[in-house]
């Protein structure tokens, strides 16, 4: 009967092409607006490394003032770590990969060429590149051996390599970073994770750094962070040595844990360390040691602006308006065909069969609406994409994240259209089945 009902639906569309087109357009507009806003929402709030959501965790411990929680989110520990705590945890062998890092500014120069330039630089560990799946155009990251003692190796962003070397393969060449010679070991390909989940202390959507050097250079060269450094405790800090020994937080720490058992071991390590420090007089707030995956991290750090949520709400409200109109049009269409329905009832169709027949017609409408809605959404997204400029989009972080939603989004759009339109069509389909057939048989 499904094929028969589908054939009847197509005949019905041909009988009322204008009305059918109106309904398809109404559904398509609602679906398109929803897909567009959801896509933009997803692109801005989505997890740029969703495929590692069960492996990547940021490490945080509440070392803050016993009298007052850290800033406006009292249930959460501070988002960064102290040097001493991070170094203790970094020494553990539990994680498959681990990173302690911060961002600073350095001055890059080349002998006899361009003028020195101040560039944002991330001091990090070797695992950074593999852990966050950073793409390379040339070369690679440095080895773990280069972490400590730090070797003079540097990785450049593609943009910086374009500027300094005209886009040539610069691996093996040297440059000066803060008056010290560094050897280039790798050049990144386009990489712009949005939001910049690995370090949210600056702008959530700031671009990544232009250069990367081993973390230990920070201590060696006594480099302070160019982003948030928060201290709560009155401490005598006269030297960099005092600073790294203080309770000031300024480092981001991430670990990659392969499974739940590793996560439990890491959590246990943190809790054990906390207990030991607590006994020694530190960590006087309630125990709050966290391993937070990227999705929860973005939620905890309130990366998504309320405006975006409002926009999504408005989009769904618009879809509701479109569907309410569709309900009206469907009712008009079905009631207009009540005489034929009466004939079918007289010839033996039950209410249930009439309901199913009309529901399949609604389903066919929703498929058409979804298809047109997808096309409209693709056009709209192309416009949004153009608006945001393609310059910064590349690899998995930016453009791919949008297209990632597109591929899954097709399924979602179809499901959304089917669910929404079927819900909208339930009443008209039910209503037409309840019509007294005798009344319409006489009126035909």
């Amino acid at each position: 009967m499904f094929a028969y009902y589908t054939r009847l639906a197509l005949k019905s569309f041909r009988r009322n092409p204008g009305l059918t087109a109106l309904m398809v357009i109404a559904i398509a507009l609602g679906i398109a607006v929803c897909i567009m806003t959801l896509t933009v929402y997803h692109a801005m709030s989505g997890n740029p490394i969703w495929w590692k959501n069960d492996r990547l965790y940021t490490v945080t411990m509440d070392n803050w003032d016993p009298q007052e929680p850290y800033r406006e989110q009292p249930r959460l520990p501070p988002p960064q770590m102290t040097y001493k705590d991070s170094q203790y945890l970094f020494a553990a062998n539990i994680p498959e990969r681990k990173v302690v890092m911060y961002s600073t500014n350095g001055v890059i120069s080349q002998a006899g060429s361009v003028t020195p330039e101040r560039v944002s630089t991330r001091l990090t560990s070797a695992d950074f590149f593999s852990m966050f799946e950073v793409p390379f155009l040339y070369g690679s990251g440095w080895s773990a051996a280069a972490d400590s003692p730090p070797q003079p190796v540097i990785v450049l962003s593609r943009e910086e390599n374009d500027k300094l070397f005209g886009g040539m393969n610069s691996v093996g060449r040297t440059l000066r970073w803060n008056d010290r010679e560094f050897r280039i070991v790798g050049v990144l390909d386009d990489w712009f994770p949005r939001p910049r989940y690995y370090d949210l202390t600056g702008g959530n959507f700031d671009p990544p750094e232009k250069a990367y050097i081993p973390f230990a250079w920070g201590v060696e060269l006594e480099l302070l962070s160019n982003e948030d450094t928060d201290c709560w405790k009155p401490e005598k800090i006269d030297t960099f040595k005092d600073f790294v020994a203080s309770d000031c937080i300024w480092l981001q720490m991430w670990v990659e844990l392969p499974d739940a058992a590793a996560r439990a071991r890491m959590q246990s390590l943190m809790d054990g360390y906390w207990a030991q420090q607590h006994k020694a007089g530190r960590f006087q707030r309630p125990r709050n040691n966290r391993l937070t995956n990227v999705a929860h991290w973005l939620r905890d750090r309130e990366v998504v602006a309320n405006d975006n949520r409002v926009l999504v709400g408005l989009a769904f409200a618009f879809l509701a308006v479109c569907l309410i109109n569709t309900v009206g049009l469907l009712l008009a269409k079905f009631l207009n065909g009540a005489a034929v329905t009466g004939v079918r009832r007289a010839l033996g169709a039950s209410r249930r069969q009439i309901f199913i027949q009309h529901l399949i017609e609604v389903g066919a409408l929703s498929v058409l609406g979804a298809a047109l809605g997808l096309a409209l959404a693709a056009l709209g997204l192309a416009a949004v994409h153009h608006l945001y400029s393609a310059a910064h989009l590349g690899h998995r972080g930016g453009y791919q994240e949008l297209t990632h939603f597109d591929s899954v989004g097709v399924v979602w759009a179809l499901l959304l259209a089917l669910a929404a339109t079927l819900a909208a069509g339930l009443y008209p389909a039910w209503r037409v089945g309840r019509l007294p057939p005798a009344l319409y048989l006489k009126s035909q």
């Binding site: 009967m1 028969y4 005949k11 041909r14 009988r15 005489a339 034929v340 009466g342 004939v343 079918r344 009832r345 007289a346 010839l347 033996g348 169709a349 039950s350 209410r351 249930r352 069969q353 007294p436 057939p437 005798a438 048989l441 006489k442 035909q444």
Partner: protein
């Protein structure tokens, strides 16, 4: 067999109640050809709708082939209607965007018959009404008489026990009307019970029995002589 006992059908509005059928009792045996006559508003069509399970009723009982129809669910009533009853309407009620073949196919679709079985029944029904060659024509391409013959083919394709005809010749000229009546008689002779609602006393005389309705009640029963003689007389 169709058996109605003290059936009452009431149409209600906020202000008034109208008895379309009042304590209506009728028994029709298998193979009978019964004409139902009466003035406009006498309840003829309501009787046919109740008999065809298209309308419920407020009081009394109705058995169709021994089944108490009032206790049936909508699904069961629809199945009974589909399998046991064929309808013929004054205005033909063909579905305009289905061709002749597909119109005749409609009741068979709801019976979930195989494609081959449906095709065989449709061909046979169209053959009986003489429209095999018009199987792929649309209703709008047929004359009124042809449309009514398609409607008859549709009504009999499922081989129903009862054929309910509501003024089947009302929209036809006399020649066409006679052809349709001939067809109905032929179908009746094949064993199908026919209930014919008509205004036309001449047509009513071609039935074996005439039931006259006034204000929802039977006012007169009249049995006629065997049809063969009556038919000849009418044809003459």
């Amino acid at each position: 067999m169709l058996k109605m006992q003290d059936v009452s059908k009431i149409y209600r509005t906020d202000l008034i109640e109208t008895y379309a059928l009042r304590s209506f009792s009728l028994q029709v045996s298998a193979g009978e050809f019964v004409a139902v006559t009466g003035p406009s508003g006498s309840g003829k069509t309501t009787f046919l709708n109740v008999a065809g399970l298209l309308e419920s009723f407020e009081a009394g009982s109705y058995e169709l082939d021994g089944t108490d129809v009032q206790r049936l669910s909508d699904d069961a009533r629809s199945r009974l209607r589909n399998e046991r009853i064929g309808f013929i309407f004054q205005s033909f009620n063909l579905i305009p965007d289905l061709d002749v073949f597909d119109n005749v196919d409609v009741p068979l679709r709801y019976r979930r018959l195989t494609g081959a079985n449906r095709r065989e029944r449709i061909t046979s029904a169209l053959d009986l009404v003489g429209l095999t060659s018009r199987a792929r024509h649309m209703p709008s391409q047929l004359s009124g008489g042809q449309q009514q013959r398609v409607a008859i083919a549709r009504a009999i394709a499922g081989d129903p026990a009862f054929l309910l005809a509501d003024e089947p010749t009302g929209n036809l000229d006399s020649l066409m009307a006679r052809q349709v009546m001939d067809l109905l008689e032929q179908i009746n002779e094949m064993g199908t019970t026919i209930l014919l609602v008509t205004h036309d006393p001449e047509l009513a005389r071609r039935a074996q029995r005439n039931v006259h309705l006034v204000d929802g009640q039977i006012s007169d029963f009249r049995a006629y002589e065997p049809r063969s003689a009556a038919t000849e007389a009418a044809r003459a």
